[in-house]
Each structure stands twice: as C-alpha cells, then as structure tokens.
C-alpha cells in the first residue's frame, strides 16, 4: 500500500483498498483542512466515506461532489482523487478557491459505490450497479442513479432487476443512496451538488425525468456554458451542455433531480472523457488531463456558488 500521498501515483488507477488507504494518509497529512466522515455503509458493509474540506465553522454553506456512483467509470474516481489533492495544494494560492474555503465547505465522496467498485477489480471490470440482492430475484444490483426520490419509477428507468438501469424496489432503498440523502438532508446547507460520471463530454443540469425547464434554467444554462468554456480552454475538449432530458435522454430517479427538488439550486452532472475510442476503459495516461480540465469547470461552478448565495 502507498505510504503517503506524495508517493501515490495520480496518473494510475487504484483499487478500493489503495484509495481508502490514500484517504487515510491524505487526511493525516492535511488534518488542518481535511477530515474524513463515515456517512454509512454499503450493502456488503463497506464503509462509505466522505472527505470534508473546511477551514472551520459549523454547518457552513457547502458544496457536494460525488464520483464513482457507476462503478465501471474509473476515470471519475481518479479525477476525484486528483481534485481532492488539488484543493489542498491550491488553498492559499488560488484566490478563488481560498475565498471559497474561507467561507464554505466542500464535501467529496470519491467512491460512491464501493461494492460495485471492488467488484470491477475482482470479478467484472464492466460492472455498473451496486451489489444488492433480494430474495427470489436472480439478478444482482440496482442502478444507484435511478434510485432517488425524484421522478422515481418514471421513464428512463427500469423495473426489471436484470436491466442495467434497474431502479430498485423503492426510492432510496439502497444504503449507498440513503446514506447520502440522510447526510445532505441533515446538513441542510448544501448549495451545490455535482455528480460526476463518464463518458461522452457533457455537462448537464435538471431535469432528467422531465423535459420541462426548471425555474432556474437560464442561470444554470449560463453557468454550464461558462464551465464548459473554462474546461475547453485547458486541452480543447468540447463539452455539450443543457438539461439532462434535452441533451442526453430522459432518466428518472436520478441524483441531480433529487438535489434540485430538495433545494440545491446548483445541481450539475458531468460526463467526462472519452472522445470516442475507449469508453469506460480510458487509459490511465488520460487521468491527469481529464482531471485538469474538469477542475476548471468545477472551479467555475464553485465560484458562482460562492458569489451567488441564496
């Protein structure tokens, strides 16, 4: 296992154990600004861990970022790790990030689906769902991004347990989703939520379950445009942006719809690279370029959240 975060290879993919070990080292090395919170456990009883970046103060306004809800999207976990490191290295140097962390907290869940992620390393690299089982049901797993209580059960989700978009028996039936819902709800002051997926280069906002524009559509669209432009300027990767239902497809019971319906105005979801060659098997050599460009988009959204309190 890696001994410290300085010897950790950010340009490589890692197992769950390596990531959890990195988290422990990272928290120990940056204890003035980072702490680890265990918000629950997975179906197979693995810890669900969140990194908290804070310079102090109780229940500050905060930003939530999650990666890896679909376990085969390895580039998202790797981007999350790089981003976490970037936050601590830029604090005190980057004016925007420093102002942000002086006023707000950032929460990052790097492995949102630990059971699925472990399974991608041990059994099936292309596993997407979690690992929950139910008596009498042959197929395993629920799509954690169809299990949220917003438009649950509607179009773009599936009631067939064998489907990759199986929504589960009821909203928030999955412990991985329930843990986040409980945490964000009890926190009560999350102002932006960013859920990171891969691949196909998109930046989207609610709704997924409906083609009706959300009340803040113009502000979200303008912000998505700015974030996509910031991202493009790093390596020339073009993202399309818009609401989920009009940009990609109708999808019900998804994270960002739930966030928006629960008062988190700045709710976005990314689809990171690939540009059409590797899909979920993006080579590790592309981790850092992907993370670098994503950082600029994240920073744009975070800055807007800081400067537009509500």
């Amino acid at each position: 296992l890696e001994r410290s975060t300085s010897s950790f290879s950010y340009a490589s993919y890692h197992t769950l154990e390596e990531i959890y070990s990195w988290i422990d080292n990272f928290v120990a090395e940056h204890s003035d600004i980072v702490s680890k919170i265990r918000i629950g456990h997975s179906f197979e009883n693995r810890s669900i861990v969140v990194l908290k970046f804070s310079t102090g103060g109780p229940q500050r306004r905060a930003i939530w970022i999650d990666t890896g809800i679909h376990s085969r999207e390895w580039i998202t976990h790797a981007t999350g790790i790089w981003t976490a490191k970037k936050i601590v290295t830029e604090y005190g140097k980057d004016r925007t990030l420093t102002d942000l962390l002086d006023a707000m907290d950032i929460f990052m869940e790097i492995v949102t689906n630990p059971d699925g992620f472990a399974f991608t390393h041990s059994m099936n690299r292309l596993w997407r769902k979690n690992k929950s089982t139910r008596p009498g049901i042959f197929c395993i797993g629920v799509d954690l991004n169809r299990n949220w209580k917003s438009g649950f059960g509607g179009n773009g989700s599936n009631n067939n347990p064998c489907s990759e978009t199986y929504r589960g028996p009821s909203p928030q039936s999955e412990p991985e989703v329930a843990a986040i819902v409980d945490f964000i709800t009890s926190h009560g002051n999350i102002k932006a939520l960013i859920s990171i997926h891969s691949y196909s280069q998109m930046l989207m906002y609610p709704y997924g379950h409906s083609s009706e524009p959300v009340p803040n559509q113009k502000e979200l669209n303008d912000l998505a445009k700015d974030a996509a432009q910031a991202l493009y300027e790093v390596h020339g990767i073009q993202y399309i942006y818009g609401s989920i239902s009009t940009t990609l497809y109708v999808a019900s019971g998804i994270t960002v719809d739930w966030a928006y319906d629960n008062g988190i105005k700045f709710s976005f979801t990314f689809e990171l690279r690939d540009t059409g060659r590797y899909g979920f098997l993006l080579p590790a050599s592309q981790i850092i370029p992907t993370a670098q460009e994503t950082w600029l988009a994240l920073r744009t959204i975070m800055e807007h959240t800081l400067n537009h309190p509500y």
């Binding site: 290879s9 340009a11 490589s12 993919y13 890692h14 041990s122 059994m123 099936n124 690299r125 292309l126 064998c162 990759e164 691949y199 196909s200 990609l248 497809y249 059409g276 060659r277 590797y278 899909g279 979920f280 098997l281 080579p283 590790a284």
Partner: protein, 93 residues
C-alpha cells in the same frame, strides 16, 4: 476475472428516430447480451454498445439488415483490459 476476449464495442450512428427505435428493440431481442455504453437517445448522438463475441455475428447482421451504419470502436475489449492491468501493476512496482 470475467474474460472479455473477442467482445467488441460498436458505435452506431442512427439517422432518425426510426433507427433509434430499432436499436432499442435490440435490447429486447438480446436481453443481458448487448450492453449499451451510450444508449439510444437521439439521432445526433452516437450509440455505443458492447457485444459479446458470441453475439457479434447476429448483432452485426441485425444492424446490416436494417441499414444501420456502425464502426468498431473497440476491437477486442480484453486487449484493453490486459493493458490496463499491466499499467496498474507497473505503477505499483
């Protein structure tokens, strides 16, 4: 580890809603066989699907018979997975 030797990812460009619908039908015709990496959404977006080696002939025939243009995005998934494993092992070393 599950072996994906010979499995391919096909990129299909549907011209219209009718062709998208044919791709959606494929999911029903080959349940749990065709894994959509990018599902049939709208004609402006490509559809990527992983097809197991055992189904390749059938699926390509289906696409051909309905005039659906496709290219092979990944020729052999296992080759990429082996490279990925090797890169991880090398990084650890």
């Amino acid at each position: 580890q599950m072996n994906f030797t010979g499995d391919q990812v096909l990129r299909v460009l549907a011209k219209n809603e009718e062709q998208l619908s044919l791709l959606r039908d494929l999911e029903g015709l080959k349940p749990q066989k065709v894994d959509f990496w990018r599902g049939p959404a709208r004609p402006s977006l490509p559809v990527d699907m992983r097809v197991p080696f055992s189904e390749l002939k059938d699926v390509k025939a289906y696409l051909g018979s309905h005039g659906l243009a496709y290219s092979v995005m990944i020729k052999d998934i296992q080759v990429l997975l082996d490279e990925e494993r090797e890169a991880m092992a090398k990084s650890r070393r």
